[in-house]
């Protein structure tokens, strides 16, 4: 008998009588996610937020934040003039080891925890949002859901992925005497650029 | 209604004042109280040590003593919880179940059954309230921040009815004192450390008396206070509610 068979037989013999799954509709809501809440939480967890009217704003701000020597990569055509290196035709993903800034688009954000959802397709290379020293994410103001339940509803409507991640702020650790240090093994900073056509947008 | 008074074994032997106060308080509130003189113990010390199978004798004696009362009241959350959860008798399962439904810790009895709204009591001192674990988490005598639920305290609300009392605030309102039954001797180091920390919380906030619904917790803290040569005393809540 293989271990698989042994384990499954033991599970079958020992599991209790079936109990039903609970109804999750109590968590449903039609409300939009609050940008204000998202910004508050993102800032609380060490992330940065910037409100822009378009990609020109983003390009300018990134240019200001990072010097001329920064290695900047992005799959976003709207920001192609910022690129100092290409994401195509890498001889190895290890070539990304010295990326300073990666600018990626996320599918949507979650207000309650300051996270954004991004899949492999937007990452281009899975390691990119982790190996980069600084991560910049672009979302639209209307793409914010209130809570994780709505996040999974939305993911359910999207196409399949081989890898996806919720990313909430920059990497961090408090392993040393509970002192919070921003910048552990992943990016040292994470900025979310929120695009809106609304001129009354907070700046 | 007639209430059977159940006095925990160590209260009977070492803190009769708490038992007397309980009796007098209930009588003051118009309750007909009887103390069955053949009672001994609820069996918790053995059960919590893993020897529940030895508590048959205790259980039978308890049922024999208390089966016929309308209510059973004890100045102890811990003992009441044990009886509620663990009293059973194969010969008399109905009697055991009935007792579980009608046994009350003192402060809950006052708030839930007698629905006391005022007390003729005076205790002009600074008092720290210790929320004994079995009462608060097992019998829901008070809330705690572990749960997201409205804040309440049955002992607290009764103490508010006592004139001239000053209840001190504490750093950790709901932490265990470390007595834990035989734990107090089998894990002596941790038990004492927990007790010392509780005592220090009360002392830091200026308590002159430490009170609570369970004499076991208070006995443990008193042992530490006396060893420290402290003037702070412990007092069962019944004695405060019965004071003045």
């Amino acid at each position: 008998m293989s271990s698989r068979e042994k384990i499954l037989a033991a599970v079958k013999a020992n599991q209790p009588d079936s109990t039903a799954l609970p109804d999750l509709s109590v968590f449903e809501t039609t409300a939009q996610g609050s940008l204000e809440k998202f910004a508050e939480v993102l800032t609380f967890i060490g992330g940065k937020i910037a409100y822009v009217t378009g990609y020109d704003d983003i390009a300018r701000m990134i240019g200001e934040q990072h010097g001329n020597d920064a290695k900047i990569v992005t799959p976003l055509r709207e920001l192609s003039k910022l690129r100092t290196a290409s994401l195509d035709d890498l001889s190895s993903i290890h070539d990304l080891h010295d990326v300073d800034v990666a600018i990626l688009k996320a599918h949507f954000a979650v207000a309650e925890n300051g996270a954004v959802w991004i899949t492999e397709h937007e990452m281009v290379h899975r390691v990119l949002p982790f190996v980069t020293q600084h991560l910049a994410i672009v979302i639209h103001e209307t793409d914010i859901v209130p809570k994780m339940h709505q996040a999974y509803d939305k993911i359910g409507t999207m196409s399949d992925y081989g890898f996806g991640a919720f990313i909430a702020g920059p990497s961090k650790t408090a392993d040393i005497e509970q002192s919070l240090v921003i910048g552990a093994h992943g990016p040292r900073s994470m900025t979310v650029f929120v695009i809106s056509a609304n001129p009354d947008f907070p700046k | 209604m007639t209430v059977g008074l159940f006095i925990p074994c160590y209260v009977d032997q070492f803190y009769p004042g708490a038992a007397i106060a309980t009796l007098q308080l209930l009588e003051k509130l118009g309750v007909d109280v009887v103390y069955p003189q053949n009672q001994t113990c609820c069996g918790q010390p053995m059960a919590n040590s893993g020897y529940e199978h030895l508590t048959k004798g205790c259980n039978e004696l308890f049922i024999e003593n208390f089966a016929d009362f309308d209510y059973i009241v004890a100045p102890s959350g811990s003992c009441v919880l044990h009886v509620r959860d663990h009293l059973h008798d194969d010969k008399n399962p109905e009697a055991a179940k009935n007792i579980s439904h009608k046994i009350y810790e003192l402060t809950s009895f006052l708030t839930d059954v007698l629905k006391v709204e005022k007390l003729d009591a005076r205790f002009p001192h600074k008092v720290g309230v210790h929320q004994s674990c079995h009462g608060q988490r097992g019998l829901h005598i008070s809330s705690m921040t572990e749960l997201v639920a409205p804040e309440f305290s049955k002992p607290g609300s009764l103490l508010q009815m006592v004139s001239d009392i000053e209840l001190v605030s504490l750093g950790r309102k709901y932490e265990c004192c470390g007595f834990g039954g035989t734990f107090c001797v089998t894990e002596e180091a941790v038990s004492v450390k927990m007790g010392k920390d509780r005592v220090e919380d009360h002392l830091e906030h200026g308590a002159e008396y430490i009170t609570g619904a369970d004499m076991s917790c208070l006995m443990h803290m008193e042992g530490i206070l006396k060893r420290q040569g402290s003037k702070v005393k412990v007092i069962h809540i019944a004695e405060i509610l019965n004071a003045g």
Partner: protein, 459 residues
């Protein structure tokens, strides 16, 4: 995992010799418990979430046979290779084989309490395989040659000066550095080189989704992802109980997990691994190691609902004042005390007694495991199985006899009071553990029973 012959009480006594350090350990963990409280209270539907999560896990355990197969089928369809390990030894052998097949002798590992339980690092070291733990806390204890003391905060028992010293010894920094920022940067540089050069990476699994065959790994540091996405072979080890039925259930669990663990709304990274990267091999090892036995224990199977958040450890007043190492097992604290006896009753007979049964753990458990009730029940099991000292057994029998007889009880009570009053030296001595740091209660003239006989109502 090293087997200490000392039990919890002895190890806790040693831990308590440095009172300042106990205070520091206790306050640090209490601070985390407070953050958890704050996070929980910011969610009005918190208790509904807990109840929902509890019911989901009840459904999982009662349909595990179906979910395991569903998960396996979907994972395989995603291009992942699935292995089954009946016990720790088999798990370790599988990992070893996969490393050999990749023709390497080194591996990078992110946090997996399951691999701690299986003693993976020791096994691989004996077989000439170098494993580097990439979680900062785990790396620190690895360099210090100690096991982690806490399942979420592995080196919570270490002071920053001690960590600085460890890094001075092993990572070449100057002596005397204790700044957490500097130390973290040191680890970042050191581990970056590891991530970029290791071909095999092992991660744990926080949640495995039966519906889709994917699994989720939650980290704050990004180390699991750095290792996995740069590797050619990604191995993921999971216990059979890590399943969730459907993806949408993650909505409930990801809201509860980190708030319960550290008070954060969510970990920085909640990585959903579904298919291997192009050109990469992905393996999942599904491990039993005693879980099916626990599943069959009616009173204790709920312990398998655990999502390893450690909220119970942070709240436990005993854990905070004894430290994880006092439990001499991979997963310590309240949850460890109801899991470990299932693995070895004799070795872990002390753990269910390392508790006052205060019940705080059950209140903070996000999946509503009745931890303190199980601690009580394990005590009954262990006593019946004969794993308590004879002296205690005799004392308990004597107590039971005395307390079942009013006459004996009255005699014993009177004798006790008499002794305390007139022969205090009989109890106020080294043989009486109560007396070590506490005074005995005073002996009143009369018991309440005696007073009542004289003064109370006759009926």
């Amino acid at each position: 995992m090293e087997h200490s012959t000392k039990d919890h009480a002895e190890l806790a006594e040693e831990f308590n010799r440095d009172e300042d350090r106990v205070d520091w350990h206790d306050e640090t963990l209490w601070f985390i418990r407070s953050k958890r409280d704050k996070a929980a209270h910011s969610i009005p539907e918190w208790e509904t979430l807990r109840e929902t999560a509890s019911q989901i896990k009840n459904n999982v355990l009662s349909n595990l046979h179906t979910y395991l197969q569903q998960f396996e089928q979907n994972a395989i369809a995603n291009g992942v290779e699935v292995h089954w390990a009946a016990d720790a030894a088999e798990h370790n052998q599988i990992v070893h084989r996969l490393i050999n097949e990749a023709n390497v002798v080194r591996m990078v590992k992110s946090k997996s309490m399951l691999t701690e339980e299986c003693g993976l690092n020791e096994y691989l070291a004996k077989n000439g395989i170098e494993v580097i733990d990439s979680d900062l806390g785990e790396r620190i204890v690895q360099l210090a040659e100690e096991p982690p003391s806490h399942i979420v905060l592995p080196c919570i028992h270490k002071k920053k000066e001690e960590i600085g010293e460890i890094f001075h010894q092993h990572l070449g920094i100057e002596a005397g550095i204790s700044d957490p920022q500097f130390l973290t940067e040191t680890a970042r540089q050191h581990l970056r080189e590891v991530f970029l050069t290791r071909k095999v990476a092992l991660t744990g699994v926080n949640f495995a989704i039966a519906e889709t065959g994917e699994f989720v790994v939650c980290t704050n540091e990004g180390n699991a992802d750095m290792g996995a996405h740069l590797s050619e072979v990604h191995i993921a080890s999971m216990g059979i109980e890590k399943l969730l039925p459907q993806k949408k259930h993650l909505g409930v669990f990801l809201r509860l997990l980190t708030r319960s663990a550290t008070g954060q709304p969510i970990t920085t990274y909640s990585s959903h691994f579904k298919k291997p990267r192009e050109g990469q091999k992905m393996h999942i090892i599904i491990v039993d190691n005693g879980r099916t036995v626990q599943l069959g224990r009616k009173d204790f199977r709920n312990s398998l609902k655990c999502i390893r958040c450690a909220a119970c450890m942070n709240t436990c007043p005993v854990y905070r004042r004894s430290g994880g190492h006092s439990y001499h097992t991979a997963v310590a604290g309240p949850i460890g005390s109801i899991l470990a006896p299932n693995l070895d009753m004799e070795k872990y007979a002390d753990l269910p007694f390392a508790s006052t049964l205060c019940g705080s753990c059950s209140n903070v458990c996000p999946v509503k495991i009745d931890i303190h009730d199980q601690l009580y029940k394990w005590r009954q099991v262990l006593v019946q199985a004969g794993y308590t000292p004879t002296a205690k057994k005799l004392a308990m029998k004597a107590m039971a006899t005395t307390l079942a007889s009013p006459a004996l009880y009255h005699i014993a009570g009177k004798a006790g009071r008499f002794t305390i009053k007139y022969a205090p030296f009989a109890v106020n001595n080294k043989l009486n553990p109560w007396y070590k740091q506490r005074d005995m209660p005073a002996a009143p003239e009369q018991s309440f029973g005696e007073w009542y006989k004289q003064n109370g109502k006759k009926k």
